[in-house]
Symmetry: C2
Subunit: 302 residues, 2 copies
């Protein structure tokens, strides 16, 4: 099970009615946060997301609205008596940015590991989740993330029995571990069917609509994209500022064959993003207009 919370839905600057865009994902006790602008710790608290359990914070890029809340969040995690290490991942340059921002958090009761991800890095593992970064197109280096929970194939009872594998080893094989018994080695492949569809969430904000989003976001259960402006007439402005308008995000969702599209990162100039709902759903029917604190749980389909 993957529990998602769209913590905030604003872009550029935080408003009394709209916190900055951020995503919280929890899976088997491990939590991941994507982006942490000013006020994200307030929004997390309001949404009832435990920030003490955040093991990994992924940063998309270094514009203030995506990272300015990081020192405050880490301090509050410390005040909540967290002692386990926290990893912060983000584009190259992250160490330098954090050295600056962390000047007001010189002492924390836990270790902070910094992982600068290159152009396309190897996935980060967090419990059952695999997190893969991919490049976006913004004024400054920016990256999106896919979060996947892979699912092993079905356990084939007959095969296990025919190979005479002791029953107490079955659960290990189901978990993907290789086991030995009576001098013989058994691998998961011997007793598992083909891998089944797992869970997949893709997150990309602050970008023009590049193919990498459809490629990495392919068949996502939820594709979370920015909708900086609602009006078609703002396309030029979006291009100039390297952002996306609602309809561009909707076309990407279609291209990626995503199950559901969540729009977020609304410009402060958008008073009510729901105004554009009907128009955007004509392009991609399963579009959801994001709201602060919106939650969903994803489960494996039987």
């Amino acid at each position: 099970m993957l529990d998602l919370c769209l913590v905030g839905t604003g872009g550029m600057l935080p408003l009394p009615s709209r916190f900055l865009t951020s995503l919280y994902i929890k899976c088997q006790g491990h939590a991941l946060l994507i982006d942490c602008g000013e006020g994200t710790q307030i929004a997390l608290r309001k949404a009832g997301c435990s920030f003490k359990s955040i093991d990994l914070i992924c940063i998309t890029h270094f514009h203030a609205d995506h990272i300015s809340g990081i020192a405050g969040l880490l301090l509050s995690m410390g005040n909540a008596d967290r002692t386990e290490p926290v990893t912060i991942a983000g584009p190259n340059g992250l160490c330098r940015i954090l050295s600056g921002l962390m000047v007001i958090a010189p002492e924390l009761p836990f270790e902070v590991y910094v992982r600068e991800t290159g152009h396309i890095d190897t996935p980060i593992s967090l419990g059952a989740m695999k997190i893969q970064n991919f490049p976006l197109e913004h004024r400054i280096p920016c990256q999106g993330y896919t979060i996947e929970v892979p699912r092993a194939g079905q356990f084939l009872l007959e095969k296990a029995q025919s190979l005479h594998i002791p029953m107490q080893l079955w659960s290990h094989l189901q978990k993907g571990e290789t086991v030995s018994a009576a001098g013989k080695q058994f691998t998961p492949e011997m007793v598992l069917g083909p891998a089944r569809k797992g869970l997949k969430v893709t997150y990309a904000t602050d970008t023009r609509p590049v193919d990498a989003i459809a490629e990495y976001g392919r068949e996502s259960d939820i594709l979370i994209l920015e909708g900086m402006y609602g009006e078609e007439e703002k396309l030029e402005k979006a291009e100039e500022r390297t952002h996306m308008i609602f309809s561009e995000a909707a076309r990407l969702a279609e291209q990626a064959a995503a199950k559901e599209l969540w729009l977020t990162h609304f410009s402060p100039s958008i008073a009510d993003p729901f105004e554009y709902k009907t128009a955007v759903q004509k392009i991609f029917p399963n579009t959801v207009i994001g709201e602060d604190g919106m939650k969903k749980s994803l489960k494996f389909v039987l």
Copy 2:
């Protein structure tokens, strides 16, 4: 006239129901902000305080809850098309702290002047306001501020007439300027009575109750002090963490002969600071329990 807004009233960390402690003061088109923690820009917007007009930001000390919102606020002031310079004042070390925090705001459409104030510096002038820092007692260097609007003495018509000062020069003398006419020099002292009581606001948070507060805060119209804890039993904890409890602040207000005491900087452990109102008013009757966005206008008494 001095317009005050207690922007937030929280201490340590921002809560959905309580922004971090900060004070906004406006006088004749110039605005001053004391402290800027995470979310202060949201609280300013909520309270309807124009942050575009902030000319001076005074920082009490470098704990995150007092300064972590500064880069975001400056960026938002830039987005609001401010082009006039902004001065940031605070304890020694301010340059180093700002170099860190401003790493996410490398380009602003206005100049930022940094003023590191020594132990006790000369007052900063901002329009009609004089801002004086004074030392507090906290775990790290911390300072309070008095904001005064001095008021010249009454204009003595008979004196001006007997000195044969041309009438068109009277307003200059009233403003405190020295003027010349027919080869003679006239100073304000020649035509003004003794200086009258001006306006005075004193602000001190994150401190033990030191004499300097009563001394610098003497006869303040409003004395704004921290009330980190309400219960008397938390005195030891307050001492240990170099904070004040409500009753200590009330005794300081009495010692300073302040007109009114505003309490702020409540610990997140205080669900409702009004619980302690009756008890604290027994010590100092004119105690006001601070609330986010609380406003007051001070005028010269005729």
